[in-house]
Symmetry: C2
Subunit: 434 residues, 2 copies
Amino acid sequence: MRTVDLIQRKRNGEELSPEEIRWLVEAYTRGEIPDYQMASFLMAVYFQNMTDHEVGAMVEAMIESGERVDLSSIPGPKIDKHSTGGVGDKTSLIAAPLAAAAGVKVPMVSGRALGHTGGTLDKLESIPGLRTNLTMDEFRDVLSRVGFAVIGQSESVTPADGKLYALRDSTATVESTALIAASIMSKKLAMGLDGLVLDVKVGSGAFMKRQVDARRLAQMMVTIGRRNDLRVQALITDMNQPLGRAIGNAMEIMEASQTLLNSGPEDLTRLSLELAARMIFLGRVTETLDDARLMAQNLLLEQAGYRKLKEMVAAQGGDPQVLDRFELLPNAPMAYEIYSPRAGYVAAIDAEEIGRASAMLGAGRDRKEDTVDPAVGVLLEAKVGARVDEGDLLCRIHYSDEQRLEEAVERIEDAFRISTTEPEARELILEVVG
Amino acid sequence: MRTVDLIQRKRNGEELSPEEIRWLVEAYTRGEIPDYQMASFLMAVYFQNMTDHEVGAMVEAMIESGERVDLSSIPGPKIDKHSTGGVGDKTSLIAAPLAAAAGVKVPMVSGRALGHTGGTLDKLESIPGLRTNLTMDEFRDVLSRVGFAVIGQSESVTPADGKLYALRDSTATVESTALIAASIMSKKLAMGLDGLVLDVKVGSGAFMKRQVDARRLAQMMVTIGRRNDLRVQALITDMNQPLGRAIGNAMEIMEASQTLLNSGPEDLTRLSLELAARMIFLGRVTETLDDARLMAQNLLLEQAGYRKLKEMVAAQGGDPQVLDRFELLPNAPMAYEIYSPRAGYVAAIDAEEIGRASAMLGAGRDRKEDTVDPAVGVLLEAKVGARVDEGDLLCRIHYSDEQRLEEAVERIEDAFRISTTEPEARELILEVVG
């Protein structure tokens, strides 16, 4: 098999056989195919996409490249929740504790902030003492005792994905439906889950800008899951404006905490409850989805998810007090306020621009090696649809470095669109797939 | 400037600025951009193409990456001829000596066989003693004395092209109009030519399978030439069946010799004369193209091109006697004949299949490192349009390795299509651009 022939056939829009796809992934992981050939293959995939069969073979090869995690000794349904990445998206920190409180086990493998999107690991690590680099035994222990544990991707699980992702990141081949689906699903399948709730973001702050692409990604992942006996449901949700009000690591921990105390923003609360309900339903704790919704709602009112998150924080070495006493979390030394230049309605808050501004302040990273500043971020004081007068506060920027402020302010000012007419209400949950 | 951003913008179909393109080529040549990023950029270019401005900037950067050859001390117009690559295409060895006999100086930089296409350097090197690795001083000397000299690409001229071509070859990004145009024109412009006649091949045996693509390539090269004060004309010519009857290195030297003695195949003779005429015309030896055609025709009848080729062979260290006494050239020890399975007309002879079969026999190479067998090849005894009876000879395969024969025979048998109806006559010279 000549690598260049396989690249050429993919480039020409042909379907490769499962054996050919597997060989590519295996030989690349072993270092027998150089990065430059894989890079051109990935770009060809970006343009020509892959069939379900090809993605299936890729997922299989990526799983086989490493260890499978065995969680069968831990009783209860193992259900994870995964978002394709957004701005201000802290639903994992709300839905997972609620589901765990309902008796579901949530073995969550999370990622870090990249580009304009945030990452659950960075958010959690803003809690003093909290570790996400648990050993597999520690992870199993927390999961077993608390019902909810979070770690980063292990190098021994799907190492092929790790290697491919790093290459995609530096070759502008991240935004491929097939490659995103293969990357997510290989990691999830290697964890030995029973079910998975996917939150596929669509809009300016998401990888997928168009709903038709988000739907394809969702369908692809649901299909892969089904073929591997994994129960999967995908929500397609709006990411044109940031979710909730807080964007920034420690600030998002605070907002998650408030939301679990039922005093969070309406959009964030609603989406988190729906995700929790679907986790509970896929875990077969209830017979119907409506029963699961009722259960999630009750657990929220009882603050059971809030207590579960505290338990998890403590179990992973963090200080659980931070969830009550926000002054124990990193707080930025300076704040800058942005006011509405005129009266009208907030017609749009470009999520990508807000995400980029927040990353500029230090909350995110351009490159994997960068470190993040847990304290900085943006707090929205008005969301889309709000009526504002000239001079009303639109948002607060929490920053620690004067030099990084100016460009961030510009971006944030550009992100807000104030219009004289009231914008049409947008749906938050656009579609369900699976 | 972040490389990944430039890749992404090209991927998204945006035009990069001349500065950005130049920076990419320069940084890659200096080794500051890794192969894997350039590979994904090249695949993005394959799909999104480049504008004339982008190609222009790329050509400039590629020229600036090395030395410019100065031929100004040699009197006379410097005109080269370049083919985009075909099967059985030995026109360089006929047109260039004819043009040189007319007083044009032909400083020819040639390539080697690759894939199913042949290369002038390999053909010439089948002549015992002939060297193509001349020093620049030797090259100038032969050019000055004989009027026609051939060398391979020097590493000091357009090194960026050398590095990019090697990468394209292993990443399935050779067949890009923009990249082909940039590669050819940077090399030609660095030679300090006055004029260039391009033979853009189209059809099964060419890189360009469709005339519309060949036309775009021709237009792109003509535009680049014009912008750099180079007189350029491009012919678009048919490469659906091999040109002439001989495919294989030494066998093509014999056929070129016969053609220069005016006893060659009609198609090869006609195209070579037209190319020679345009070289003469671009060299301003005559005032009109028709005068140039007449001159080329007369030089052929006078055997002036034949004598010029002999001079060039001798000047480059080869044995000029081989052009009369073919037994002095490498001859394959064995021959295998293929007969028509039925009566009818030869409707098609797939040039790519014949080229691949010939390469399999040892006449070509899959990889740059492979060596070629100068003796082997295919001799067509019937061309498209010929009336054949069952059992008539279609072609002879000259081979030296029994093990390589079988697959080649299959391919060649498949390449011939015998039909009961006479095929429509095809034009050889399809179009002129410039």
